[in-house]
Amino acid sequence: MAAARRVTELGLDGRQRGGKWKGSVFKALLILCIVIAFVTLLAVIVQAFVRGLPRLDSNLITQMPSTLDRETSGMQSAIFGTVYVMVGVVVTVVPIGVSAAIYLEEFADHTKGWVRFIELNIQNLAAVPSIVFGILGLAFIVRGPLSLGPVAYAGSLTLALLVLPTVILAAREAIRAVPTSLRLGSMGLGATQWQTIWHHVLPAAVPGIVTGTILALSRAIGETAPLLLVGATVFVTYNPDGFFDGAYTVLPVQIFQWAVRPQEEFRILAAAGIILLLGVLLAMNSVAIWIRNRFTREL
């Protein structure tokens, strides 16, 4: 049997425990890792800010893009285009995503092969490169079966498909976080399952769903590659007519268009556009985080 330590070996001050510096160095390295990530974010912002500063003016928002007057050119059509596209994304993805999440969390029998297949499929979809969604959008939405043409809603639908897995995942987590005891309490009173969901589960899950959806949208709002393929590559000097009508462009595509132009004025515009886009994103994220912190405490 292993013997107990002899009492004479006492000494609790850890002097005989060498290598304490290892822990400190390790911790410093870990902090460095976090700092790298954050410093880069800062660098992205600062760089764009410094570069775009000359054009961070009201014209950026109030003016249409212009090749002639680069000093006063703005991105109003892209801002409106983004709003249209995003509204289209929300109205498409939220009902489908939340419904799918409710089914998977509340109704699906997870021992069934086909349910697992659906779940696996969603997980997979989440990691499909966005450009592949662009190919899908081009083949099925702009042309092909839906043939919407290069209109704002074609962009919406493409992005909606892209973020659908994210929304489903977030909604599922929000729904799962609703305590089972609420469901049991309601079911135990003879409420039907849908009554239980509608009266208790969904209201309790709304903050989580909203948070997750905002985060998903903040991903969609910055997507460029798929929209390059589905027709947002346009020089438009007017705001979209509607979801199914007319030309449109969006912020990230406009930024990209400007970024690859050789003239410095366009580069500056691109940088200013990036700041604008990051500002929108930061606002969206703050709202999401606020909602999360505000409402998760209550359950």
């Binding site: 005891s181 309601s186 079911m187 009173l189 409420a191 039907t192």
Partner: protein
Amino acid sequence: MPGHDIPDSPVPVMEARGLNVFYGGFHAVHDVDLTFGRHEITALIGPSGCGKSTVLRSLNRMNDLVPSARVEGQVLYHDQDVYAPEVDPIEVRRHVGMVFQKANPFPKSIYDNVAYGPRVTGMKVDSMDDHVERCLRGAALWDEVKDKLKESGYSLSGGQQQRLCIARAIATEPDVILMDEPCSALDPIATGAVEDLMLDLRQDYTLIIVTHNMQQAARISDRTAFFTARPDETTGNRTGLLVEYDRTSKIFENPSDQRTEDYISGRFG
């Protein structure tokens, strides 16, 4: 037992006949036969994991909500098998109400908590206000909450929340009320209040309660069922089974099975 005469054999309101419950491939409860008497309190006791909650939940088909759960055998409610194909589990739960271990009021007002059941079941009540008052009185909670019916159910103390859940349960006018360790999260004073309430409720309802607290079973129940868990020799899984079912006084004073006696006297568990 105190001051309550019960017949030698229970007048059946619910019965389990050859009840077996499985979770996936796992045999959780083996061959349980039990008759729950009208206007009696039946206590289910036994060590952790022996299947008490499982048996309780199969009585009002709450186990349907566990996807992997499967029930064999019969559960009769006034001689109808609640697992018969034409039976609607929702309807069963309207007759057989349930109160849980952890008080689980809805994040709504006290009033809405009580009114919820009647509303969703489409119960006809002359005046919801009166009905809510009656139920809160029935749960011995009225005096404490009558001035704050609009406040959230969460604003109550643990014991009050549990009584609110009981008020909520009786609001749908069930016949049987199942309670799964209703006092285990409460302090002794709150426990006392709920125990008193249970004795009151016995006048109008049939109560079936699971408890870990043998003193509680002894104090309030008319009959006691003792369960234990037997490990399967090959898989090592432990399957719950009914060891003994009798009047509570008999179980506690003169059990017929050695395992019951060991448990009661604290030799294991």
